[in-house]
């Protein structure tokens, strides 16, 4: 089980408080679909994904990105119990959505990159390290119920 030190928790929560979840969610999912186009396989019904600008402006991408990142916010409130927090979502992603857990790692890293672009110098190596631990923990928790 992942353990977060008080400093790591502080690094995560202080930054999260300044994040616009709706905007960041859309940006994260959008960039995932642009940078790793094969991830579009899960979103056939999203309409126009034909170019970077089409993807980033797509309302379904934005809405779904907001959903995903809002759920991520739950992780931050429960950093000591990621597996429990994401048990149901893990089952869903395996049994209904059939998403390869590698995609969780890709999205987590895209999120880290977005935070870097928003926070610049404030996103120090130590702050990044705390966030890498969190996104890895979330990815593992989401993969935990796979069978």
């Amino acid at each position: 089980m992942v353990h977060f030190s008080p400093e790591e928790k502080a690094a995560v929560t202080s930054l999260w408080g300044k994040v616009n979840v709706e905007e960041a969610g859309g940006e994260a999912l959008g960039r995932l679909l642009v940078v790793y186009p094969w991830t579009q396989r899960f979103f056939d019904n999203f309409g126009n994904l034909s170019s970077a600008s089409a993807i980033m402006g797509n309302p379904k991408v934005k809405a779904h990105g907001k959903k995903v990142l809002t759920s991520f916010g739950e992780a931050i409130k429960n950093m000591d119990n990621l597996k429990g927090t994401f048990a149901k979502l893990s089952e869903l992603h395996c049994d209904k959505l059939h998403v390869d857990p590698e995609n969780f790692r890709l999205l987590g890293n895209v999120l880290v990159i977005i935070l870097a672009s928003h926070f610049g110098k404030e996103f120090t190596p130590d702050v990044q390290a705390a966030w890498q631990k969190l996104v890895a923990g979330v990815a593992t928790a989401l993969a935990h119920k796979y069978h």
Binding site: G30, V34, V35, I114, A116, S117, F123, P125, Q128, A129
Partner: protein
């Protein structure tokens, strides 16, 4: 995976923008890699890895210079990086997984210093570039 003309243009423009900061960014990317992915430190037992280390900065410059060379030879990465490819295969033998960690931290570094230029399309091109360089550097492993 092939770099399109647009990708090549994005990589060159990024490198022009980075200019003389390349060495500094190389050092920062290494520092980030060691902090976020501690297993990478196993390749540097002979280094002082504390924050601000002169050895890390110097090594970061080496890495950055190699990337600058690569950015100037996008039409022939295997040729331009042949010697480095030999080095990584026969001497350094860095496990391929680590190239992904460093590439990610290079993207984080660039995003943090140049957010305006780091558009989704540029992000994609740079990810492909670092991936292509990594492939060349591990191409002679076996």
């Amino acid at each position: 995976m092939v770099l399109s003309p647009a990708d090549k243009s994005n990589v060159k423009a990024t490198w022009d923008k980075i200019g003389s900061h390349a060495g500094e960014y190389g050092g920062e990317a290494l520092e980030r890699t060691f902090a976020s992915f501690p297993t990478t430190k196993t390749y540097f037992p002979h280094f002082d890895l504390s924050p601000g280390s002169a050895q890390v900065k110097a090594h970061g410059k080496k890495v950055a210079d190699a990337l600058t060379t690569a950015a100037g030879h996008l039409d022939d990465l295997p040729g331009a990086l042949s010697a480095l490819s030999d080095l990584h295969a026969h001497k350094l033998r860095v496990d391929p997984v680590n190239f992904k960690f460093l590439s990610h931290c290079l993207l984080v570094t660039l995003a943090s210093h140049h957010p305006a230029e780091f558009t989704p399309a540029v992000h994609a091109s740079l990810d492909k570039f670092f991936s292509a360089v990594s492939t060349v550097l591990t191409s002679k492993y076996r």
